[in-house]
């Protein structure tokens, strides 16, 4: 039995995680061809999906392209818009307004040539923010401009970009595409039970209307329930509520006042007394939500806070409350089952990690699913090691935003208490007080957040870095040229790039050229 080949994969659960994984696997296995590994997805007709995230990372462009989805079809069917980073508002202080950008484009890849030491010495100008010294994108995003022009190819940008999307519509698009183009089999049924084999692996999934479904390998995309990995196989959950304090979200969908209202070109994240509010612009509405800690604010107060943020437009709108299980499974892959999405882990959506880590997990599974069952333990250990690292680093990166805040409310004081900061983060923060951020701080190939992301947040939050040995930074002339280039680009791109809505209207009409 142990030398059997793996010829079929059963994805249990739809939503963004299920369909993105099924589509990715089927595409990688060429499942539409006879004789290829079969991918089947079971989705409950009765359980609504949570819609984990409405913001992606730039990786989504490569993912969609790989799946063979046209960019214009994706944009149109998901009410999607271009995301050029995140604007963090009021994260530094409670009483002194300030904001900064975490962007996707920098004039120089800091792992090749790090401009930060020269910026710190004032070479970009005395009162220039780090983001506006190294990137034109902040100004472009503030103006609500698109990262590309209609003459650019599909998935190609003048500036690097990701998307804001309607998660429900995104799952629908993937569901159609996966079935029609990629050869994914779809079963609409409720899972009643999961039966285990003697060795503790999954033997079958028992459904109400499609009987017993068996496969050689299972993917658990059942959301917070974690029916397969958590409930049936008993893999434990490791909460990280001592590190990341938020545990609930209340959300409201806000229609635009007029059909031509401008669309924000980046996610807005505004700090509040006991958490922060996200504000994401789609084509037809904004998605706004308050992520908070129920230990520091009541649910009613949180909803009131969100309504105040939205203004009078919120009066007639309904709010939805979500409880968040923040943490990750002790293992993501166990025997013949891997959990992807909420069933694997969840952290607050501060850096749009949810969809991004689903893509990463699906990619690794597509590449690493062994041909033979006997090689499962090797793949399992590799995958678990990789994703434990990625989740821990994601947690560190989110914690960084809190650790550097000077806000005074009890929630914020608790959120930056030193004993709650992971040691790995404390270590780098200590070294960064006197040394620049270094590529050697990010030695792992699958580092979820790159060096430049850390720099945007560190310097945006006003982290005090006093570089020792200034004579080590001798390339001031070269740095000055880069800073100058950013100013030129900032000016030039303001003239060239269209407003988000203007570009989207053209895309709906003409599409993008593949060339």
């Amino acid at each position: 039995m142990q030398t059997e080949a793996i010829r079929s994969v059963l994805v249990v659960g739809g939503g963004t995680a299920g369909w993105l994984t099924a589509a990715n696997l089927a595409q990688s296995f060429n499942s539409a061809e006879p004789g290829a590994i079969q991918v089947t997805l079971i989705e409950s007709p009765d359980i609504a999906t949570i819609g984990v995230g409405e913001g992606t990372w730039p990786t989504m462009r490569a993912t969609l392209q790989k799946l063979g989805i046209k960019e214009e079809d994706f944009l149109r069917s998901c009410n999607a818009t271009f995301k050029q980073g995140t604007k963090f508002v009021d994260w530094q202080h409670s009483d002194l307004p300030a904001s900064y950008h975490h962007l996707f484009t920098s004039v120089s890849d800091p792992t090749q040539f790090n401009l930060a030491p020269y910026w710190l010495q004032g070479r970009a100008g005395q009162h220039k923010s780090y983001a506006s010294a190294v990137s034109a994108q902040g100004v472009i995003a503030e103006l609500g401009l698109a990262p590309k022009k209609i003459t650019n190819k599909a998935y190609e940008g003048v500036l690097n970009y990701a998307y804001h999307l309607d998660a429900g519509k995104f799952a629908d698009l993937l569901k159609n595409h996966a079935q029609q183009k990629l050869g994914v089999h779809f079963i609409s049924a409720n899972v009643l039970d999961v039966s285990l084999a003697i060795d503790g692996s999954i033997a079958a999934v028992i459904t109400d209307s499609a009987g017993r479904q068996q496969a050689d390998f299972y993917v658990d995309c059942t959301g917070f329930q974690s029916l397969l990995l958590g409930k049936a196989m008993g893999v434990g959950f490791r909460p990280v509520s001592d590190t990341l304090l938020t545990d609930h979200a209340v959300t409201i969908q806000v229609p635009y006042p007029t059909p031509d209202s401008p669309i924000n070109a980046c996610t807005h994240s505004t700090a509040q007394a006991a958490g922060w509010i996200w504000d994401i612009g789609l084509t037809n509405r904004r998605g706004v939500g308050y992520v908070y800690s129920s230990n520091y604010v009541s649910h009613e107060q949180a909803e009131q806070c969100l309504r105040r943020y939205i203004g009078p437009a919120a009066d007639t709108l309904e709010a939805r409350k979500l409880a968040m299980q923040v943490g990750y499974r002790e293992k993501f892959w166990h025997k013949n089952c891997v959990a992807i999405g909420l069933s694997a882990a969840f952290v607050e959506p501060l850096e749009a990690s949810a969809i991004f880590l689903i893509e990463a997990a699906a990619n690794m599974l597509a590449d690493q699913l062994p041909a033979l069952k006997e090689n499962l333990p090797l793949a399992e250990s590799k995958f678990n090691k990789s994703f434990l690292f990625r989740w821990q680093r994601t947690i560190d990166f989110i914690k960084l935003h809190y650790a550097l805040s000077g806000r005074t409310e009890p929630f914020w004081q608790a959120a930056r208490a030193k004993q709650l900061i992971p040691q790995s983060l404390q270590d780098v923060l200590q070294s960064w007080q006197t040394q620049p951020v270094s590529p050697y701080d990010f030695a792992h190939v699958y580092e979820p957040f790159p060096m430049e992301s850390y720099q945007y947040v560190l310097y945006g939050m006003g982290f005090k870095q006093q570089l020792a040995d200034l004579q080590r930074y001798q390339q001031g002339g070269k740095a000055a040229l880069y800073f100058q280039r950013v100013q030129q680009l900032t000016h030039q791109l303001q003239q060239e790039l269209p407003a988000q809505r203007e570009l989207l209207a053209k895309i709906y009409r003409y599409g993008f050229s593949a060339l």
């Binding site: 003459t151 053209k506 003409y510 060339l515």
Partner: protein, 232 residues
């Protein structure tokens, strides 16, 4: 900047149309639109290239008349310097558009920024509320152009489907000046053309596109003629 409005027998009853054999409106244009039914005639005088319309991102066919923006080497005060004049130039400032593609009716619009369109001198457009014979003939030419635009779009669509278009950067070194790149040009890739399957080749023939493809390839000889012209 062009500003187009529909011709109206009431509003424009006193307007006239002048003709400009010099095509002065193209004096600063280094590319000019060309339609597929003109390729064979134009290929002996200009390089035929494909560019993306900056407003729509859609490809269109053009002749190159200069080797840098702002330069038209075929414009001269003594007269147009080529044996062929693209129809878009001849029809200017008129253009035929189909506001409603289902009905198929054309509306004649005019670039009101053009001094050729004025109340003082030229051919009358309307008489007693009716289009004059002159306007009917000019409108007919504009409609013929609009119809050939559709044919050109179909031709370009076929080139895209067969992946025959490639982006090319022309690196030009004018005498005594720094080399520079002319970007945003797309050409037919001869290599790709040679690699077409029989079936793909047949699709070109069935669409009456072989002549146009070869006209584009032959027109590439005009690039050196254009550069020659630029140093004269």
């Amino acid at each position: 900047m062009t500003q187009r409005i529909a011709l109206d027998s009431q509003q424009h009853q006193h307007y006239k149309l002048q003709e400009d054999k010099l095509f002065s409106h193209t004096k600063l244009a280094h590319i000019l639109p060309l339609e597929v039914n003109e390729f064979a005639a134009a290929a002996a005088y200009f390089p035929i290239v494909f560019v993306k319309d900056s407003n729509t991102g859609q490809f269109r066919a053009c002749v190159m008349t200069g080797i840098k923006p702002g330069q038209n080497l075929y414009w001269h005060q003594a007269g147009w310097q080529a044996g062929y004049t693209p129809q878009a130039l001849r029809n200017y400032p008129l253009l035929a558009v189909q506001p409603d593609t289902t009905s198929g009716d054309y509306v004649i619009v005019v670039d009101t920024q053009s001094s050729l369109f004025n109340p003082q001198s030229g051919h009358s457009l309307f008489a007693a509320g009716q289009a004059t014979e002159y306007l009917q003939q000019r409108a007919g030419a504009a409609i013929a152009q609009a119809k050939s635009v559709l044919l050109t779009q179909q031709f370009i669509q076929l080139l895209l489907e067969l992946e025959l278009l490639v982006a090319r950067t022309l690196t030009l070194t004018p005498q005594g000046a720094e080399a520079y790149d002319l970007t945003g040009l797309y050409l037919i890739d001869e290599q790709r053309l040679a690699e077409l399957t029989d079936q793909q080749w047949l699709s070109l023939r069935q669409n009456n596109s072989l002549l146009a493809v070869h006209a584009v390839l032959m027109s590439m000889n005009q690039v050196s003629a254009l550069i020659q012209r630029s140093v004269l």
